[in-house]
Symmetry: C2
Subunit: 329 residues, 2 copies
């Protein structure tokens, strides 16, 4: 049963009107009645509403969530995982969609702090990770080792993608590299390069400066202007892979016969497009759930056995890759 203003009045031995006057700080109430009411409020853990509770406890039932790009389907899937867990705990999400805007990120951290959020979950790499006022878990884009984090195995993912390409008669390979400021992109690149070198396969790099959906088609166009003879691509993510595949088809290039490609993420649309996109599957929903779980473990002062949780990645073969070479295992 929820505590009501009547319960407070009864315990304090005063009228409901008196309790109301004390809570609203309006009208005259004797010092002694004030004290009785305040004691009853404390004893019964009574709060007129969430806002008042938050003010008294200096902690709200909010979790701040920062996403780099809500229109990249990977992040709504992560957000869904976070929300499902947070919601079961009786908490709500304050959403910030950052879009590579450090000012917006700073503003949001300020807002989160002013609103007494219990914790922050961020998939944005940047200054926020140095923000120490509030418990924080970093998802996916980790750049501060001191923080709690959940991410998937980028190095292995990079290796698996390169190996899948290498096994399939790759003649001219281009690695489309994610933004240099994103740690995971650099780690994936290391996995790609180490694997291709091991397999004695030459490659070129195409550096991108964004994962944003908004720039995918433009980037795909520039890519083909630069590499008209490309035969195999390791793409920076699924959105960009799908845009590249479309651009290839538009140019009359046969996928996968003359142009094979592998993405990264495995968002829901990657299996729905044609040809189906081969990719490295990251467990987006699970990253969200595990991140929220880790944050609540911190908030509930549980013993944290793993402060950097690494989830497995998986190679998913669909139609965008050619058949394996005969002489490969």
């Amino acid at each position: 049963m929820m505590t009501t203003i009547r319960d407070v009045a009864k315990l304090a031995g005063v009228s409901v009107a008196t309790v109301s006057r004390v809570l609203n700080e309006s009208g005259y109430v004797s010092k002694s009645s004030q004290e009785k009411v305040n004691q009853a409020v404390k004893k019964l853990d009574y709060y007129p509403n969430e806002v008042a509770r938050s003010l008294f406890q200096k902690k709200s039932n909010f979790i701040g969530l920062l996403l780099p790009d809500i229109t990249n389907p990977f992040f709504p899937a992560v957000a869904k995982g976070v929300e499902d867990y947070v919601n079961r705990k009786g908490y709500s999400l304050l959403l910030g969609n950052i879009e590579n805007n450090p000012e917006k990120e700073k503003d949001y951290l300020q807002i989160f702090s002013q609103n007494n959020v219990a914790g922050v979950i961020t998939a944005v790499q940047g200054e926020n990770q140095k923000f120490n006022k509030i418990p924080m878990v970093v998802l996916d884009r980790v750049d501060d080792e001191r923080k709690y984090s959940v991410h998937s195995d980028d190095y292995l993912g990079g290796q698996l993608a390169a190996k899948a390409i290498a096994q399939r008669n790759a003649k001219k390979v281009v690695i489309m590299v994610g933004p240099t400021e994103v740690n995971g992109a650099n780690i994936r690149l290391a996995g790609n390069e180490d694997q291709l070198k091991k397999e004695n396969i030459e490659y070129e790099l195409f550096q991108t400066d964004s994962y944003q959906t908004d720039y995918a088609e433009e980037t795909a166009h520039i890519f083909f202007e630069k590499f008209s003879d490309v035969d195999s691509v390791i793409a920076s993510n699924d959105v960009y892979a799908i845009a590249l595949m479309k651009e290839a088809i538009k140019r009359g290039i046969k996928v996968p016969e003359d142009f094979q490609i592998i993405g990264y993420d495995d968002m829901p649309f990657s299996r729905m497009v044609y040809p189906g996109l081969s990719t490295i599957a990251q467990p987006a929903y699970e990253i969200g759930v595990k991140g929220a779980q880790l944050l609540f473990d911190i908030l509930e002062k549980k013993k944290i056995s793993e402060s950097h949780i690494q989830l497995a990645v998986e190679l998913v073969i669909r139609e965008s890759l050619r058949k394996k070479d005969e002489n490969e295992r």
Copy 2:
């Protein structure tokens, strides 16, 4: 410049420690000093933090946003529009992803109300639209005429989709109908049917009970089991259209030669898939912006010239439709 506790102390003619004691209601402060501090706080509009401000004003800087399915790319695009506007106004979003769960919807409205949200923007059709405690704008899925709303022209959209199919040698037409409880789905269906009747084209209906991304592939499979000889489809939305197109290709059916299809929404991926999905474009981002603008017009007590804003839809022709019949204009 932000007002600080020093400004309050100066105006009240007391020490910072006294202001702090009054604000925290701890320690002894004379009645007259209390009054001076309270007056200075009011005059300077000083709030120790957002939570305190919210408590005093009974209104927070939050807007509650309810979405039916964050994994359907139409809604992140709407959310982005809402967030961009709300953010410029110095407000933040409390996010609720509802997924056809009326309990979750009720919980969120409760949470929004307890947290003194200034207003609610909802794209969920249901009980929330009868929620009268807080100013509310309904996006897309409008079912309560008393509410403020922003939606696009579903009837015209339905007509345009049907006309595009009718002009392209349609032999066996199936309309995939969105969930009956969604008003817009019924209005689109009316547009489809009126147009097809006018063109003397026969059709069958395939009723769905969800727009959820999670069920798209399963539904596409069931669809083709039922209508193996279908030649033209008016799909319920782009996600389902893309799933149907993929299922057709998997079954060796040629798109658009033997199977043409038109979607609804025009999400970013609809132009990135192959064949490119023809569709009825709804301005998702603009729906979000206009909805937020309408809500702030209400909050700021501006004169509302239009309480039901209807945005235009547009036919977008891509490769999933056949060429127009020779004898059509």
